[in-house]
Symmetry: C4
Subunit: 308 residues, 4 copies
């Protein structure tokens, strides 16, 4: 668990002061107010704004989903079209406000979330100008990604980063594993293409690889299936292999999580009480849990090194 | 593991006395006897009653299952109809008895199990009064949920609560994970809806999301499958992703269970220092690791007992 | 890992002496010789016999498999029929020999392996006498189970029992989990039967339960699939649930295996060296790994109690 | 984790010296230069050569994949044919160069990678000579396996061997598990063949076993599905069994990886006491736990480095 983020926060630095540290000169007047509301989650107004944006995003995604369902769009098409424009204008206003109140609008516009913000309003405008581009309108669902920006500021961050840390810590093992799986899929896919051939649905190596992925991952759509004896034998081997191989990423992630879970607060360190020689005090302990004596200070980075 | 339930029980308070503590004035006479039989599992009669109810529930569910199978209901329809009424009257009698012997019938009637009790008898009566409501009769299977009430009182409780504790302890990680998966399904579903379109079975975003769920969870019904090259490529990525992502909940639950199984020293107990309120002292600690104050004694054997 | 079975064996007691301990009076003459060959794996002849039996079992199963493949049985039917009779007579001879050399033939005939032995020779005889019973002949594949008897005597036993111990140790958790899954399947199956109905393939509750099993376990045959919106929504919930629930048995077994794996030889015990106070000596250690001092004896059952 | 590869390398022995140690007499002149470039990855030229070979392999595999897609091969067939010959000649040149510069060409030609090297150039030549052998050309995808030879020399080796070590450490458990699963598949397959029969798609025991594999591994293609009540009941049991059994390999691998990840104190190292030959001393041990003799020093930082 990411204890660092959960630690008692340092004396709160006001939002403008932080902005000042970042850009040299503080924002002021309405731009500062706007900035605080839009980009900060500490104030009452900021939190209300965030909740309103999340609500608008979810509502607009719901509109897009309903719009794609013919039974509904045939009947309520007008209302949905209106709601769509309402949200598009709302997000446009928000986009403009964001551009206005940041000190470097260009940098924001080119950032990941800046691009997502633009992508979530553009399709509606384009669909009006270019008739054939109506299909693009479903790109609006990408608005959902904007929720992540706001979630970054909330309490769920600690959990997200805990999961992320577990994955990052084992990314090399995962990369090796993935490259092995991809090679397996390519080799098995080609072999099955040779054995089964276009007559049994394996029309090309890419199609055979798609089939190999459905098989190794145990999805098994069944739209393409082996028909020959040899093909079925090899498929059986692939399934058993995929089944066993599934144990590997689980093992990697679990081992990492178990290590993290152990990490705090019950971590078995080598800290030893000088008086009663009890070992294994947790990193944040100040006193010996056995005799109550004061423990020497613990160097936080030491653990990080030992755990890494 | 649920330490509370495994702790040496306090000197046994008779059922009526407990009821008295709860409601101020004790039940008496036949109502007390009925209450003890129906709601308590400590006495001989109470246990016999519980077993009889479980038997009746399972038998009535079996009747409902057989009734839905045409080959059987065509032939034995009369007997099944009779058995159905027998169980309905039995459960009605039980429901009335429960209402009679509790001190606050209204509170019971509105409780979770009160509603389930009502739902498991109503359909049979409604099916007689309203001809078209015959389909409702299968709601009777919900009677099965009533088994849980009785199981709550048995030895399996410890295991149930152990599993529950493991899930509860990691519910935030699971919530983060689930929201991530749902977002993945929504985004991938929409993308596939745009790519494949209604011609290939992806008739709306909800349908595409249903397909995305079957794919990411590796179920793979195959009633809807991608036909285009790009769609198959994206499906392959989804399958591999879903396969890898499956490692995450397993990792979360396993890490939690391993920690519980070990019990010590990584166990997060609920021991709290009375002075500095630091939580999570390990079972064998004598002093608060934060302020060095003496901790109250911890019953170590309780843990060992709870482990078995 | 089961160290007990891997421990240096006690001074070897001859087969006949062991038989004597069991039955009071020793076998003698040719019956003793036969008993030693058939039931013991310690002697040269006994091991050769076991290997021959395993070979014959595998060969006869292969014959049964080939016999079921029409392309092969049409052409080589005569040879396969001959081979089948060869193996049947062989196993009959073995069965008779077993009956002859044990002291209590009745007890053997009624034991699990005695019944399997009989079942693996009967079908061939019955198929001759009763013409329509030819289908029974595939019961011969149960011969495969006889391999387990011999494997019981080999080195793989330790691994088998290690896996078995892990499962046994958590059988209550698994029972709770299974009863929960079965209840889930019954409730979801009935609900889907009501929602989808016979028109969409859910012809009865048992069929709906079969579908629920294919869905929750992520098998997803796709022979029956939900067609209505509500049915698909509930299916999606089931799939996600089944996916998450899969983490539970994995967590149970893994936690158990991790505990076993840790158990020996690197188990963290509380054994402490009296001279240098190094803790955590493994159970079988005689000397302190840090200072080389003699350690006090370790009571084996203490660990078992603490681990259990 | 592979400690050997992570250990501080011995003072670098030049490639030719190593070759000399192996074969008695050193290579010299252009053969030595060629050998260093082709077989070594330590020099600048060697690394460049390896990268070029990996690039050529991936490009030629891409050509084979594109060639199998009719929409592409119909249009760009000529270019792809040319590219195919370009890569074939390139790999032929490489193969000849390898034969020339090793001291024992025969041994290389018969080694695993020697055969793969030959297999990856032969099909193109054969397809010219024997018209009907065009299908063989897809054997070229096996070129991909050649990437492994080069990867063996890179930094990913540590991760590969870590995964490999985890699998090797539990190979007996996995073997027992696999033999159990195969027996399950054979028995269940035969039973389903008897129950469902050829009319429901179970045309022979091998086909029924193929179906059993798709079911137990939760792949569930759905090309063959049970139709009878009894068959569906047994299938349901198989699915639940397969689902639960999946927990076993995951448990095995995870327990192994957790032990490796922790490294200490449960780590089974290869440290062996010179006096009593007890193996598996923990990394920080100074004395043999069995006989108390002094152990040679263990480079603790090596382990830490190997953990990263």
């Amino acid at each position: 668990m990411d204890r660092t983020s959960a630690r008692p926060a340092p004396p709160p630095v006001p939002a403008y002061a932080r902005a000042a540290q970042q850009f040299g000169k503080p924002l002021s007047g309405w731009r500062l107010t706007l900035y605080t509301i839009i980009f900060e989650a500490d104030t009452r107004a900021g939190r209300a704004f965030d909740l309103a944006v999340i609500g608008a995003i979810l509502a607009s995604v719901l509109v897009a989903i309903l719009d794609s369902t013919h039974a509904i769009s045939d009947r309520w098409g007008g209302w949905l079209y209106g709601a769509e424009w309402f949200f598009t204008l709302l997000f446009t206003a928000e986009y403009v406000a964001r551009l206005l109140c940041v000190r470097r609008p260009g940098r924001y516009a080119l950032s990941f979330f800046g691009v997502i913000d633009l992508l979530s309003i553009l399709p509606t405008y384009i669909a009006v100008l270019v008739p054939g581009a109506h299909v693009l309108i479903d790109v609006r669902v990408l608005r959902l990604l904007r929720v992540f920006r706001i979630l970054r500021l909330t309490a769920y961050v600690a959990e997200f980063s805990a999961l992320g840390a577990a994955l990052r810590a084992s990314y090399r093992k995962i990369a090796v594993f993935l490259s092995f799986v991809l090679m397996l899929i390519l080799v098995f896919g080609s072999v099955m293409y040779v054995i089964e051939g276009p007559d049994n649905g394996f029309t090309s190596i890419p199609v055979a690889m798609y089939w190999a992925v459905t098989t190794v991952t145990t999805v098994g759509f069944g739209d393409i299936t082996p028909k020959t004896e040899l093909g079925r034998l090899i498929s059986s081997v692939m399934m058993l292999l995929g089944w066993g191989v599934l144990a590997v990423p689980t093992g990697i992630v679990t081992a990492e999580m178990t290590a993290q879970r152990r990490g705090w607060p019950g971590a078995v360190t080598t800290r030893t009480c000088q008086f009663c020689l009890t070992e294994g005090h947790s990193p944040e302990a100040n006193f010996c849990r056995h005799c109550g004596a004061k423990l020497p200070d613990w160097h936080h980075d030491t653990v990080a090194g030992g755990e890494g």
